[in-house]
Structure formats: structure tokens, C-alpha cells
Symmetry: C2
Subunit: 297 residues, 2 copies
């Protein structure tokens, strides 16, 4: 490998880049298996590209290794990279490996192609657009608690979903064809829907009772004393790596048919600014939500 | 800023990318001023691109902040980015900011353009080519010691050179026109010349007494009991951020005229493999050098 990566231009296409880092103890658990850490690093970045409608093809890698990590740990990390590199057809194009007295820190710059001008941005939503989300919400947050042993997870499904998210790459074409704005759900549905609204210069209303849950999420929510607060917690939790997007009302059916995964309408973009949270017919009072807007990782 | 950076293709050009990370206490001193840390991050990556003949235009940034670092530290870091961003005409295209229980860790993916097929690689040297290096060697290593207070540095020039290297961007055109192989001197002249030789499938002979030193470097070397060992230490030390390259003997004069900075012949590529170190007429015995091949950062 040379000191640099060289990428010939691809006529008619834009290069799309995203860069995310993960720190042991912050973005993954310090005892998480390192092959899963490597795969999560790729997948969280792939999720970013998927939400933008881009086709990933390669990445640059940064790893910062604590001195206590030897050959076995690095080999296991490399095995995870190889596994998901093959699964998602990604080339490792370059990077840097350093040592650190601190926790394991890993980062990747993921690269993808998009037809020129076709990247789906954050800022294209208009008042009246339908707010839609893919898959289910809240399993990332529940999965973190399961991985920490704070929640029973008899079949391991929740913890696995936290450790190994599934980027929604199958939605790329549908997003490019129909979505006016899109992002992946990494900070939490409420925060990421708010990012779309803010970038689009409008507000967004979210109907908590319409937020799709998994069987495990439904069971958890049903066991909570305050259903509204439970739904808000699931919608505020991060790490879902679903796609949240804005659709013109007339495009909803076609988008649903093309998405290749279940998508649900969970609210609407509105005039004004900010996120308003509704449960049934009422606007949820913020003080009952126990919810803080997701900030930086 | 969106979740991703989008870069239209530039016809007739290749995109050149390099990614380097720096950890407090490893790649810079924990009490280094943070504006200089930011500038060093950009400059070490710019050095990579310069040695490849590429024209830098932008970067993605990763910062991992310890909790003890507040607004003032971040503002100072941002000030350094802005200063060198303006000086080198770089756009900040995206990135990720996370928090860490460990030391400050920063990384950048620098992007540049090169005429299609024109990137200067590591692997093009041939036996008989002249090994050339820009500027002076050893001040990075002496500068680290000066910054640590282990060496007198009355005028601060050495420590400043360690903290704020000068990428040799003015050599880009000369490198593209004449160099058969090139790299920047980050691991040390001996190691980086060895990288060129290894990638080119040949060996390299380095004549220590021809390695160019600064006035400070000469004074330091003269004060050492073993001149050969001193020259080897300066040539093994890293952080010079000069350019080391391979030139066909017939191109040396033209390269010298076009380089825009002093360049010196310090050895020759040869048949075989590995690095042989000479001092005067003799090959230096490895056991007298106290030199270990530079490994990962």
C-alpha cells in the first residue's frame, strides 16, 4: 500500500464521503468482541451513505491501539473488517495505525458513488411532507441496555442489534427516486428528524404512537407505567441505523413499494421550527418526556 | 453541514487521499498549544500529498475530545485549523467529533487532485537512480527533544520545527515531472528511503556524511563523540516532513533547478534489497548505529 490512495474520476458521478469515529467505552463496550467492533464501524458509516442514496465502494481506516492489545486482538479486528468488507464489497484503500495510552479508538472514511447531483440531502423537506422511518425504532437503545446486562435479552437479539446494525443499503434507489430529505437514525429518531427539519427551515411533528417497534420493544413499552414516556424514550434512543426521510404525500405509496423494507409514516413536516411531539390527540408536555435532545457522540 | 461530503468528479484528474491520526503524548506533547496541534495535523497530511505531487484542496476531520477540554481548548484548535486552512486554501468538508475518556486524538483525511495517472508512487525507483532529499534532516528529532526540554533550544527554532513542519508543496511540479518514486520523511530518512527501495524491488545505499543538516543539527552532531552514530541518529529520527525521492541520474540537474528548495543527493538505489548505510568509504556496522528501523507511529 502506498502513502496515499488514488481514485480516478468517475464521469457522471459524485464522490460521497462520510467519516465516523468510535471510542471504546463511549461508542461500544470495552469488552465487545473486536470483530463486531470493526463491523459496526463499517456499518454505521455505511448507514450514513445508504441514507444519502450513495453506493459504497471503499474506505480509509484509522486505528489507535492501546499497548495492551496484541496480535490476537488486531487479528480479530481485521477478521471483522474482512468479513464485512466482503459482504458489502468494500476495498480498504488506505489509512493510519497508531498507538495510544488511552482506549481503543477507531475511525473510518467511507467512500461511495452517487449519480451526479443525486445525493439526498438533509435540507429538502417542505411543510406538508410526510415524515417516514424504516424498520423499527428503539432496539438500538434497548440493545445497549441488554448488552450491559441491564435488561433481559434471552435470545441475544437486542444486544446483537446494538453491536451489529444493518445499514439500509437496499433503500438507496427508492431514496434517490422519491425522498426530498433523508438521514440515518444514529442520534435517535427525535433528534435526527429534528436535524432534517432544521436543515430544511421548517418544523416537524412526530406522532409517538405511530413509531414502529419490534416485538421486544413493544413488550418493553407495555411493561412501563407511562406509555407516552416509554415511546419517547425509545424514539430518543440512538443507534437504530434506520433511515428517516421526508416524502411528498403523493409519493408515499410508490416509495413504500420501492423501499424493499417496511417503512412507516410517523409524522409530518410543518411550518415553523423545532420538533413537536404528539401522543394520540395531545401534544406531549416536554417535562413529562424526560428527554434531552441528542448531542454529539 | 450535511451528514456526508459530496465531491463532483473532476475530469482528467485523480483524487488523492491520505489519512493520518495523532494522539496526545504520542505524536504531540500533551501541553502543546492546540492551535499548533491542529496546524501540525494538517501539515503532516499535506506533506504526504506534496510528496505525491498532488494539489490539496480539502479535508475531513475527526476529533476525540477528553472531558476536561472545554470551549477554550476547542476554540484554540479551531483557530489553528482556520489559520492553516486559509494559508493552504483548504476547505473543511466534513467529519466527526466524539468524546473520549482517553487522550486527545485527532485525525484528518486530506484530499487533493492530481492530473490523471500522474501521482508519484513509492515503487518506481530503479537501481542506479539517485536518492535525493529536500531541506535538512534531523531537526524534527532534535526539535522533539528541545520541546521536551532535553536539549537547549535558545531561539526556539528546533521545537517550533517539530511542532510546525513545513510541507514541501512547492516541489509538487518538479516531483511530477522528474521523480520516479517519492515519499515524505515522516518515519525518518533511513526508514522512508527503505520504504521506497522495498516498494521498488531494489536496495538503497545511504551516504550518511552527505545527509544535509541545519546549523543546529551540525552543531549537535559535532558535539557528539561518535560522528557516524550521530549522523545515523539524525537520519533515523522522524518528523522531518521533507521529501525523499528517486531520480534518474540525467534528471538530477533539471530537478534541482525546478524543486524550489535545496535538494541533496544522499545515496543511490542499487540491485538487491534493504538499506545499506555508508560513512565515508566504509559501510557502517549496524551494531554501532544503535538504530532500529522505524515502525508504526
Amino acid at each position: 500500500m502506498d502513502d496515499v490512495a488514488v481514485l480516478p474520476s468517475r464521469p457522471g458521478h459524485d464522490l460521497v464521503m462520510t467519516k465516523d469515529a468510535m471510542v471504546a467505552g463511549v461508542h461500544f463496550l470495552s469488552d465487545d468482541p473486536l470483530d463486531l467492533v470493526a463491523r459496526k464501524l463499517l456499518r454505521t458509516n455505511l448507514s450514513d451513505l445508504a441514507a444519502k442514496g450513495a453506493e459504497p465502494f471503499g474506505y480509509l481506516l484509522m486505528t489507535s491501539w492501546p499497548h495492551a492489545f496484541g496480535w490476537n486482538e488486531r487479528e480479530r479486528f481485521a477478521r471483522g473488517l474482512a468479513e464485512d468488507g466482503a459482504a458489502f464489497d468494500l476495498d480498504l484503500l488506505g489509512g493510519d495505525t497508531v498507538s495510544t495510552p488511552g482506549p481503543l479508538t477507531v475511525g473510518a472514511t467511507l467512500l461511495g458513488w452517487s449519480p451526479a447531483g443525486g445525493v439526498v440531502r438533509r435540507g429538502g423537506a417542505r411543510p406538508g411532507d410526510v415524515l417516514m422511518v424504516s424498520g423499527v425504532i428503539g432496539d438500538g437503545w434497548l440493545g445497549l441496555q441488554a448488552a450491559q446486562g441491564l435488561l433481559p435479552d434471552l435470545e441475544g437479539g437486542l444486544a446483537r442489534r446494538y453491536r451489529l446494525p444493518t445499514p439500509r443499503l437496499g433503500m438507496r434507489r427508492a431514496l434517490r427516486d422519491f425522498a426530498r430529505a433523508a438521514a440515518d437514525v444514529s442520534d435517535g429518531l427525535l433528534a435526527d428528524a429534528g436535524h432534517l427539519a432544521a436543515a430544511s427551515g421548517c418544523g416537524v411533528r412526530i406522532d409517538l404512537e405511530r413509531v414502529p417497534l419490534s416485538a421486544a420493544g413493544s413488550a418493553w413499552a407495555s411493561a412501563q407505567p407511562d406509555k407516552m414516556r416509554a415511546m419517547a424514550a425509545l424514539s430518543a434512543g440512538g443507534d437504530d441505523y434506520e433511515v428517516v426521510c421526508a416524502l411528498a404525500p403523493d409519493d408515499v405509496d410508490a416509495f413504500r413499494a420501492a423501499a424493499g423494507v417496511a417503512v412507516h409514516a410517523v409524522g409530518q413536516f410543518v411550518d415553523g421550527a423545532g420538533v413537536s411531539i404528539h401522543f394520540g390527540d395531545d401534544e406531549a408536555p416536554q417535562e413529562r418526556l424526560g428527554w434531552r435532545h441528542g448531542g454529539q457522540g
